[in-house]
């Protein structure tokens, strides 16, 4: 782990793998000291935003060094969220071809795997889902679509994701779900917060 400066009210902890990030994010969010405003995991980093009057930078760094080198969470915790999907996405066939498999096999692998939300970003409630051990890595589309519908189930890089609302997007669209990924009037507005476990289920 490396600690990098990020102004006078935040520090960035950098890790060598997403697994380390997952472990650190879990540890840093479980019992943060007063003065921690946000803990933001990403692909290789965890950003910690603080209120320096309550928690000085040096103290925040000490706390991060103490707790962040935690093992990745064991996968037994928490309920699995099941997302029913119509695998009718416009990129399903092309994505299967890129992987050298049939479309049906791509659906089989996508639904057989268990996914976990490693981090959020891009839009409220957009979860970057990973499934360690599953190799479905494909590049983003060469050109982003100006409009991707809400509920679109997509893949890019090592990630799978679901668009919480209509937006532009460059991920490859495999299908659609009716699940509501984001609703700010719910107590838990994001259906898939970091750490959530997810399975996709193919609708006939």
């Amino acid at each position: 782990m490396r600690i990098l400066p990020f102004g006078d009210s935040a520090v960035l902890a950098e890790f060598s793998s997403l697994d380390e990030v997952r472990g650190a994010a879990r540890a840093l969010t479980s019992a943060p000291p007063p003065g921690v405003l946000d803990v933001v995991p990403a692909a290789r980093t965890v950003l910690v935003r603080i209120r320096p009057a309550e928690l000085p930078l040096a103290a925040a760094e000490r706390w991060i060094r103490e707790v962040a080198q935690a093992p990745p969470p064991d996968d037994a915790a928490g309920e699995v969220v099941v997302l029913p999907v119509r695998y009718d996405g416009p990129d399903l066939a092309d994505t299967a071809r890129l992987l050298g498999i049939e479309a049906g096999e791509l659906v089989r692998r996508h639904t057989a795997a268990e996914w976990e939300c490693a981090f959020s970003g891009f839009a409220p409630g957009f979860a970057y889902l990973v499934s360690p051990g599953l190799d479905l890595a494909v590049p983003r589309l060469p050109t982003s679509r100006p409009r991707v519908p809400a509920g679109a189930v997509a893949v890019a890089g090592e990630f799978s994701g679901v668009y919480p609302r209509e937006s532009p997007g460059g991920w490859r669209l495999l299908g659609t779900t009716d699940a509501v990924l984001w609703d700010e009037t719910r107590t838990a507005p994001a259906l898939l917060p970091p750490g959530a476990r997810v399975r996709f289920e193919a609708l006939p």
């Binding site: 946000d38 935003r49 981090f119 970003g121 917060p193």
Partner: protein, 290 residues
């Protein structure tokens, strides 16, 4: 309960408070008034809690009418503001009579007025805040003509008697902002940091609450390639592949993939809100710890 009617929102009128920290892990940034100090001051002037929601009015053109007498204070940008035709002094609690128009002309100094009304704007909060996040599309919608905004109950504190708050108007000439090294300082040449902290930058007209773009010399990287997206904060100076810097504003994205060369010091951040297109900016390097 009293209310205020929007006859015209002007260029952009937003409800803002101190923002919604704590949701970044779900992809929601803090948002809140861009000129945070101005909102807190305006709230204090009318006896509100500093955290009460007020209005952030970009440029001129806003016209508001209350249905009952209400104390107001205008901070942030300076310009001709009239209440029922009479001039409103900046940074001064003023009683706005019922059914009289509060009109904002284009600011002469700065860019964003902050308006506090006694009782605060009492629209329903979203995730604990009444702030509009223009990037995430969260919180109260930008105001439109005909909107009626409810005001909260009379605060326990009286309107303070302090008759003068000595605050200078936003500067017109070169603005100095303190800058600290960012996490990806090592992605850039030493001359890039040198250029960042010695050049006279100019504020691009393509600036908004998401980011203030600066025009000036290109900042060269020492390495190519992509940075995996990482957490961002308001005030982070992201450098795009063409070498131009953007200072992230109040509605900064929660994560971003452009390397951050420097970060604006918290004490300088509010000044970003008042920078006008074309205005010169100088970034003064500071060490992280004294």
């Amino acid at each position: 309960m009293s209310a205020v009617r929007v006859l015209s929102p002007g260029a952009l009128a937003l409800v803002e408070d101190e923002g919604r920290p704590g949701w970044a892990a779900l992809g929601v940034g803090p948002a809140g008034a861009f000129d945070r100090g101005a909102l807190r001051l305006a709230n204090r002037l009318v006896g509100n809690a500093e955290s009460a929601a007020g209005l952030e009015l970009l440029l001129g053109g806003a016209v508001l009418v209350p249905d009952a007498d209400v104390w107001i204070a205008v901070t942030g940008a300076w310009g001709a503001v009239r209440a029922g035709g009479a001039p409103v002094e900046p940074h001064t609690a003023t009683l706005l009579p019922a059914r009289s128009a509060l009109e904002f002309a284009a600011p002469e100094h700065g860019l964003r007025y902050c308006l506090a009304l006694r009782g605060g704007i009492a629209v329903p909060p979203v995730l604990g805040s009444r702030s509009r996040d223009t990037l995430a599309g969260l919180g109260p919608a930008p105001l439109a003509a005909g909107d009626v905004l409810p005001l909260g109950p009379e605060p326990a504190t009286a309107v303070p008697a302090a008759d003068l708050v000595p605050v200078d108007p936003p500067a017109d000439g070169p603005v100095r902002l303190d800058v600290l090294p960012g996490p990806r300082r090592d992605w850039f040449t030493d001359s890039a940091w040198q250029a960042l902290t010695t050049a006279t930058w100019h504020v691009s007209p393509r600036s908004d609450r998401t980011g203030v773009r600066l025009e000036g010399p290109a900042l060269r990287r020492t390495r190519e390639g992509e940075l995996p997206s990482e957490g961002m904060v308001p005030g982070a100076i992201q450098v795009s592949p063409d070498g131009s810097p953007t200072i992230l504003g109040a509605d900064a994205p929660v994560t971003g993939g452009y390397p951050v060369l420097g970060v604006i010091a918290s004490a300088s951040f509010d000044r970003l809100a008042q920078l006008r297109p074309g205005q010169p900016v100088l970034l003064t390097p500071r060490a992280l710890r004294p």
